[in-house]
């Protein structure tokens, strides 16, 4: 009986643990998602960008194929690239591959989740819900904290929010 209980507890732990987000990491299948954030939008800005880092700990490549959110009419997966001094933006129609063992960053200046047709402004200090769908790992819901309108990363943005005393030298760029 006790043994069965142990087994049950162990089984429950195994089942439940992957769904927990600890240390700011969201797990889905073999994927670990960290450093989610978005930026406060300017008035009338009908679009916003979402950023996060996806690490694939599995042995097989996966693919981010879809994203959706209650705050936007349409959500797409985009790549931004600077060609010389020209900013170019492209929709990734086939999604974004997360190779086995690789970490792919959706970060300012590169890949991003593009929220289009916003039905509300992104307000600093709030969070934006988003559902990501992966080809193999399935779907996962996340909340992207809204940082300042020029936040460059999850940490950087968090520091900028303070506007308090100067950040320690080690933490500034």
């Amino acid at each position: 009986m006790i043994r069965t209980l142990h087994a049950a507890v162990a089984a429950i732990l195994l089942l439940v643990t992957p769904a927990f987000a600890h240390d700011g990491t969201t797990h889905v299948g073999e994927l670990n998602i960290t450093q989610p954030f978005t930026r406060a939008t300017l008035p009338n800005a009908p679009v916003g960008g979402g950023f996060l880092t996806i690490a694939n700990t599995g042995a097989e490549a996966d693919r981010l194929i879809e994203a959706s959110s209650a705050v936007a009419g349409d959500v797409q997966i985009h790549e931004m690239a600077m060609e010389g001094d020209v900013m170019k933006m492209r929709e990734l129609a086939d999604g974004l591959e997360i190779p086995a063992g690789a970490t792919v960053a959706l970060a300012p200046g590169g890949f991003h989740i593009m929220f289009m047709g916003l039905n509300q402004a992104f307000v600093e200090g709030e969070a934006v819900p988003v559902t990501l769908v992966f080809e193999k790992a399935g779907s996962v819901e996340l909340a992207l904290p809204v940082l300042g309108n020029a936040a460059k990363s999850a940490e950087h943005g968090a520091m900028e929010m303070g506007h308090g005393p100067a950040a320690p030298a080690a933490a500034t760029k």
């Binding site: 009338n44 916003g48 001094d85 760029k173």
Partner: protein
Amino acid sequence: MAIKTVRLWLWGAVVALALTAGVGALLLRQSPPGAAPFGTGTYSLIDQNGKAVDQTLFIGHPSALFFGFTHCPEVCPTTMAEMAGWFEALGDEGKDLRAYFVSIDPERDTPELLGDYVSWVSDRITGITGTPEEIAKIAGSWGVYYQRVPLDDGGYTMDHTALVFLLDDRGAFQGTIAYGEDQETAVGKLRNLLAKS
């Protein structure tokens, strides 16, 4: 005797190099005849308050000029925020400097919409829009590239040059600030611009 020959050859080399450098410098100083200076053009636009403006907008004070659009997810809001940071860093020193955000998506960016967008970031930045034809003229005079890119939801986004152009108080081109350039370098360039204006 041998040393003297070497010395003569060396002096010969010095004269030849000096001549080459002199002729090169003379050639470089001559601008091509008939070419209009960079940034020169005529256009009729409207500012965020609905006021008519033209090329004389940039006369009488130094300016920072950026071309963008409000449906822009990253480069434009980032540049706006950085501009606000430059004004903050310059403080009183930058009181004569004015910044302009010219829409390269005038069909969607009305003066009113643009006004709310830029003034939220800084009251030192003025939004400029106009007809597609007149926008093409000002963008052309600054060599600004912009291109509509269709999206699969039927909408579109824009590829565009993301430079900030620096103009002196005569409206003449003095340099650029690149996208993502660090604040210290950017503010240094603006200080130089202010010193020249």
